[in-house]
């Protein structure tokens, strides 16, 4: 079994809905250590994504994900725009021309996305950024496949690892982004970017559950 074009559309719609629901929460996390706009910016971006995909004929999975990336780049602003834009652009580039996604396609897409986000933001693990959710998620996904897990089980384990990664950002002192201005005062707060990344991975796991 595999994930089809319509499943990817469903996932994007579900992520937009999640971001809209969690807008206040993400913004609140950001107000503690950032500039209180993460939820607002992501919500504006995902609403623009919905408007964009509603108005265009179906393409392939890669083109769809690239459209999401381009739209986020041009509507989110801040650091979230280039970072989430790059994430989706890389997912799209890695799946260019595909009508369906197998577990191995998603492995390659996750690799490309994480590499792209790191190249853009230059963050390492434990800098207290979205990377702290993305790298554990990518690694858990690979490990699950190596252990013979199904596609949906690997996605579930990937989302769980992202959640652990988010929790692990709480005690960290930020070394990148606006939170780094706080120095030691950034410890004790959960990173908003890691949180939205986990929400994305959780949405993917939830919407594609039962795809195998």
């Amino acid at each position: 079994m595999s994930v089809g074009y319509d499943d990817v559309v469903r996932m994007i719609r579900a992520f937009a809905a999640t971001v809209a629901e969690q807008k206040e929460y993400l913004t609140e996390l950001d107000s503690a250590i950032g500039d209180a706009d993460h939820g607002i910016n992501m919500d504006r971006g995902m609403k623009a994504v919905l408007a964009k995909i509603d108005g265009q004929p179906p393409t392939d999975v890669g083109a769809l994900l690239k459209t999401v990336g381009m739209t986020l780049v041009s509507t989110v602003g801040g650091a979230g725009g280039p970072l989430y834009g790059t994430l989706f652009l890389q997912l799209g580039t890695a799946t260019a021309g595909k009508e369906t996604l197998e577990a191995s396609d998603w492995a390659a897409a996750l690799d490309a996305a994480v590499t792209g986000v790191q190249a853009r933001g230059k963050a390492e693990l434990e800098d207290k950024t979205m990377i702290d959710a993305l790298i554990p998620a990518r690694d858990a996904y690979h490990q699950a496949l190596e252990e013979g897990a199904t596609f949906t089980d690997a996605l579930r384990r990937s989302a769980a690892a992202a959640e652990d990664g988010v929790k692990a950002t709480v005690p960290l002192v930020a070394r990148k982004g606006r939170a780094s201005y706080l120095g030691e005062r950034s410890a004790g707060h959960q990173d908003p970017g890691a949180t939205s990344s986990w929400l994305l991975l959780k949405t993917i796991a939830d919407t594609w559950a039962g795809s195998d």
């Binding site: 107000s31 500039d35 910016n41 780049v73």
Partner: protein, 333 residues
Amino acid sequence: MKKLINKPEDVVREALQGMEQAHADLIKVFYDPYYIVRSDAPVQGKVSLVSGGGSGHEPMHGGFVGAGMLDAACPGEVFTSPTPDQMEAATKAVNGGAGVIHIVKNYTGDVMNFEMAAELCRSEGIDVESVLVDDDVAVQDSLYTAGRRGVGATVLIEKIAGAAAEEGRPLKEVADICREVNANARSMGMALTSCTVPAAGKPTFELGEDEIEIGIGIHGEPGRERTKLKPVSEIVEQMATAIVDDLPYKKGDNVLAFVNGMGGTPLIELYVVFNELAKFLKGRGVTIGRNLIGSYITSLEMAGCSITLLKLSDEFTRLWDAPVKTPGLRWGV
């Protein structure tokens, strides 16, 4: 939240529409995506300067578009970096064939968006040089932070480099002037009150009735110290000491002293600050060759001020004095 607005989501667009009508002789405004260009752009054969950043810092940057300063500015949402498509469109609109300089304040979002824009422009054959502004001494500059923030020096760079570009200097030289101004400028800000981002609807941070934040950023980022309100002489001494000791500025130096209002502080208080600053600098043997006093790089309705010092060379002084004709800064014309 008490503000003179219609809807929070319309603030940036409606402010641009107001600017466009008020300054039709100086600037042109584009809306899809947002960018502002000087009315005679592109100026053929001249190096063009493009800057941009979140809105809420007016008159920066849009108010500094015009002859002798910026060729274009890209306004983002309030306190949110503009996006690469804005910067790309603005760069193309003002490119007069001699190259374009992107003046980027050192904030993670601004840096990444301008980086993507520069990649797009270069892939289309436009010669783009990016210069980073990072003059805020409140932030420790280390591998473990995003680095110092770009604040007051941005205004001085845009004016001085704008004059150099107007003289017909080549791209590399104008970019070097930007970097040289940045290297010789240091700033620090302070807040008496917080500010409220229209879309957020509540104050960015909480400050007690008798508290001030020393070292505040222009988006309400935390500073070095939260302390009780004290006489302005002590506040200015604390800020100026941090600035002067950082470069350092030495006895015999000639500086441009820029006392900037954060948006909610009246000019009368800025003059009091300038008076204290002049006393302080005199005590250090530093002379004030030029000054700028007023609200030029603001943080919405935040009350407070920032101080920027720039060590002047004869060339900087000459370029500072050169004519400028923009909505926010105008002399010699």
